[in-house]
Symmetry: C2
Subunit: 251 residues, 2 copies
Amino acid sequence: MDSYLEIVERTLDEVLPKGRPEKLSEAMRYAVGAGGKRIRPLICLAAAEAVGGRAEDARYPAAAIELLHNYTLVHDDLPAMDNDTERRGKPSVWAKFGEADAILAGDALQALAFGVAAKARRNAGAIVRTLGEKGVGVVAGQAEDIGSDKDIPYIYEHKTADLFVAAAKMGGLAGGGSEDDIAALEAFALNLGLAFQYEDDLLDGDYTYSREETEQLAQETTRRAVEALARLKGDTAFLRELANRLLGRRV
Amino acid sequence: MDSYLEIVERTLDEVLPKGRPEKLSEAMRYAVGAGGKRIRPLICLAAAEAVGGRAEDARYPAAAIELLHNYTLVHDDLPAMDNDTERRGKPSVWAKFGEADAILAGDALQALAFGVAAKARRNAGAIVRTLGEKGVGVVAGQAEDIGSDKDIPYIYEHKTADLFVAAAKMGGLAGGGSEDDIAALEAFALNLGLAFQYEDDLLDGDYTYSREETEQLAQETTRRAVEALARLKGDTAFLRELANRLLGRRV
């Protein structure tokens, strides 16, 4: 875990801009550096090892998914969206840098994410197509969520799970996984993403379903996520522990 | 030109979403369909032929650059940015669909652009890296433009010319051009982009330099753009005519 985190932080620092325009670079670094848990990039690196590859092979896709995730947070916080002035206990990007620079910082983070994903040595085309598909999906999930006629399963799958799926799939592709490996990783990550969302509902006390149903759904999807890992030939200990720990977030 | 346009419109229609969330799909199609001249995708297709390839080989990168260009317009029009309620004689995306959906439509168009660029059969990795670099560049140009201490040459190069350069370079890569070909296309497109900006200043009567200096700069950069084409072995008639026509936009 520590060595995974070192890879993620080193690669993010390598790819984030330092130069002009200074305010834009500063806003981009602030958005990405603000104490995230790096769950998605950790999944990406671990997915490469789960298919028998090396974590280092997935470092650019891992940085890419974190950049993309953080741009969505920057834009979600905007006044026209959730109007949040805080994120992770600090001023949100727009509250600190202004709305215009927050829009631009988010836009630049997304472009950077794709450019970085394309640096993967193996399967760069498939990796970018995956990020493109899920990058549209996560926005579609958010659009559905702010719409009038909400389809909850659609929102959970796309707003939350899509970036977990992208992380796992890109890591598997970067690690040279087979089609079966990639399918197992997708099943793992979809269920993990859903479990993550149910746990969020439980943490917030904000139930779409009843508390009991939500607990059952969280356990069921976690079980399915762990089961999918059994289909992989590489080291899946980290991913299994991550799934079980997410289930315990409440405690 | 007509066959180029047919390729661009057909590919855009193929890749733009039709399904749910309907408002998002509608906003994305509205943003891209609103009567653009398609200059950047035409450059992309013509660049593939200029290196001896086929225009069809560059259809996904061509669609990608138009999607990316249009997302920048959607976000530039937002109230927190230029606050424009009209674009091409019609309501801007935020004026028609609301701010939140305009932010999301722009975000989804950018993700789609990269996913589509990665569908290129040849050099997909290099094509996406080019789009990533220039996609960050165009945002940096805009950030400099809304900043307090403006560097005009920096703004012209990045806000305007970067997407011309991306278009030409991606087309050359998709068409299988050599390193020398790509360098010639970059020189062409950088100068064409600068000429385009000087012509814009002349059309708007909004001079950074004097009117005479601006005219001279427009002619000088157009001449350099056309000269760069001589280094290419394929058919460059379309690109040469485009450069000369852009110079004549005033008349």
